[in-house]
Symmetry: C2
Subunit: 88 residues, 2 copies
């Protein structure tokens, strides 16, 4: 996967975050997701809030943490982004 | 198409430029393309050079202008980007 080419078209961290949320796993928390895609916790939280506001993810309180999961719309966009990245 | 959501994931001008090159038309010149996607001529030229370096487009001298067309790889990525934008 060519790094410079991909970066010409997509915003690396938000794209990887959405795809990462779509990975099969029991629970998704901002702290783990930020580590997986190598961005700061606060950046991950901001991006996830924008995704939630736009109906791509929903969150569910789990004690002091929030479990994050994709909506149907989010799943479709994650799929399209994966398809796109596979071309690079 | 939701503007803020799309902008969370993609870089607007390069994406629109590539899709625009893929539009059926006899010839593509940087000057016309930059007008179509509403960016500066110099930005369009820089982006097109990066696309060419990465094998997405080829150019052909036409007098003082360059005709720009997509390679197979460029066509595939343009298609994936169109598919992606259609979800927003």
């Amino acid at each position: 996967m060519s790094e410079p080419l991909r970066e010409l078209f997509v915003r690396e961290k938000p794209v990887r975050l959405l795809i990462e949320i779509n990975n099969p796993r029991t629970e998704n928390y901002a702290s783990e997701l930020s580590k997986s895609v190598d961005c700061t916790y606060s950046h991950a939280v901001r991006v996830i809030q924008r995704m939630e506001k736009n109906g791509l993810v929903e969150t569910e309180e789990k004690g002091r943490k929030k479990n994050i999961f994709l909506t149907d719309k989010g799943t479709k966009i994650a799929k399209r982004l994966s398809d796109l990245l596979s071309e690079f």
